[in-house]
Symmetry: C2
Subunit: 270 residues, 2 copies
């Protein structure tokens, strides 16, 4: 089964395009975890248990785990084990390096941790992402237009009739022989998302920027001309319960937040 | 002391522009370390002890350490402790993310591990690297023209009269208020290195691609119009001794390889 099929099935089974971003910061998680042997791991387990029936998958930004050193490694590995096999997993690493180095990243995140997909930065060109494309069933999400303010500085630079992100998309669509490349579009870039998904409804898109980053849901959904999309929300789901909450409150609040985003997405007619 | 001053002093004290790349792979290091509690850490310690008088510093590509999970974290931390304080340290991570995420990377690599500098990918724009610029005495090496074959695909794309890497340089030179930005140029891009270093001899450049990657030293050195450069070599130094070597052989061979590159650099008149 390739990644797109897995994505389709996960979306169908959960009736959800939501991906929960496990950007778990020890200073922000509820106090009830602070005495745990590995607070972030225990927190993640609870988030996953509370949401796994109503989301399409999880995105783990590895910066949060690298920051915690050994405990982070343990939390990354343990969280991946907690995620049901039929949900998609996205390693948000934004990597891209010489081929022997990218091969190591591919081994680490695809083979060791078992992620289905990884975000990559294609600035170094095709050979820098090739190792990520050599693995059956896996997918890379190439950064197209990111959700931050400065994204336009280089990504929208004109490169002779097309913008840089458009050139990157055009050149990379068939890398790996087709079916192994998706793209990241920040939720604020509704026009560009509209154009891309009209042309390439079969290509998976990962959309961050809804929730704590504050971009609006309705104009985004109206401009999505594909079913192969996931919308990531991190802080507005995982930190939706107050810091002093009980375990029951956490489970209920987190589940409700994920369900609210899910319902919001499904309520907009397209 | 800012990074450039530290670099100048390290080069002057060692009479060397060489940076050793600690791309340490457990499958390639000498057999004598295989019974150690942490083979890569013990190997790195020996490499550092054998070369610290004759090199300007060390570059650690974090992919090699992430691959080893907990042992890699330990090796990264222990290797950083072994490096003398007056030598420069480069975290080769090629990071760049949303500002809150880049802040975590900056905390991890600058504050926790104590690196002086980090390689960054500027595709996401200025706000994505700002957290790395907020720390006094630290420097970012922005990827300009990398040493891999595919580097021309996007880096040399024309963006209205200048190539993309030139636009990135032009826009980023004064990020952080000046003195906190350097650039990565692969050793094969001699013409571009010549032009850049003529214009900006005060800006540090990090040059990989000599050694195992096979690019030539002499044309590179003739085209360097700056003293603020370091040339990284990884595999051709750290794996210069045979796999079955003794500790004494390792020390002598590694030291001789670093010295040979150092002499090669200094023998070319500029």
């Amino acid at each position: 089964m390739n990644f797109s099929q897995k994505l389709d099935e996960a979306v169908a089974a959960s009736r959800s395009h939501v991906v929960v971003g496990l950007d778990s910061d020890p200073s922000k998680i509820p106090d009830l975890f602070l005495d745990a042997e590995n607070p972030v791991l225990e927190f993640n387990r609870e988030i996953i248990r509370a949401t796994k029936e109503i989301v399409a998958g999880y995105k783990l930004n590895v910066a949060f785990y690298e920051f915690l050193q050994e405990k982070g490694i343990e939390a990354l590995r343990g969280s991946m084990k907690e995620i049901p096999d039929d949900l998609i997993t996205i390693c948000d690493a934004k990597r891209g390096d010489l081929d022997n180095t990218s091969e190591l990243y591919a081994r680490t995140y695809f083979d060791t941790y078992g992620f289905d997909s990884i975000t990559v930065n294609a600035y170094m060109g095709s050979d820098s992402v090739q190792p990520f494309l050599n693995r059956e069933g896996k997918l890379i999400f190439i950064l197209a237009l990111t959700s931050n303010k400065s994204s336009s500085e280089f990504q929208k630079t004109d490169t002779g009739g097309m913008k840089l992100y458009e050139k990157i998309i055009q050149d990379s669509l068939n890398w790996g022989g087709g079916g192994r490349v998706g793209y990241v579009f920040g939720a604020n870039h509704t026009d560009e998302i509209s154009e891309f998904t009209k042309r390439h409804p079969e290509v998976p898109v990962l959309i961050p920027g809804i929730g704590a980053q504050g971009h609006e849901l309705e104009p985004l959904i109206r401009n999505l001309h594909t079913e192969r999309f996931v919308i990531n929300s991190s802080r507005s789901i995982i930190y939706s319960a107050p810091k002093g909450c009980t375990l029951t409150q956490l489970r209920e609040t987190v589940s409700a937040s994920a369900q609210e985003l899910n319902s919001g997405i499904r309520s907009v007619s397209r």
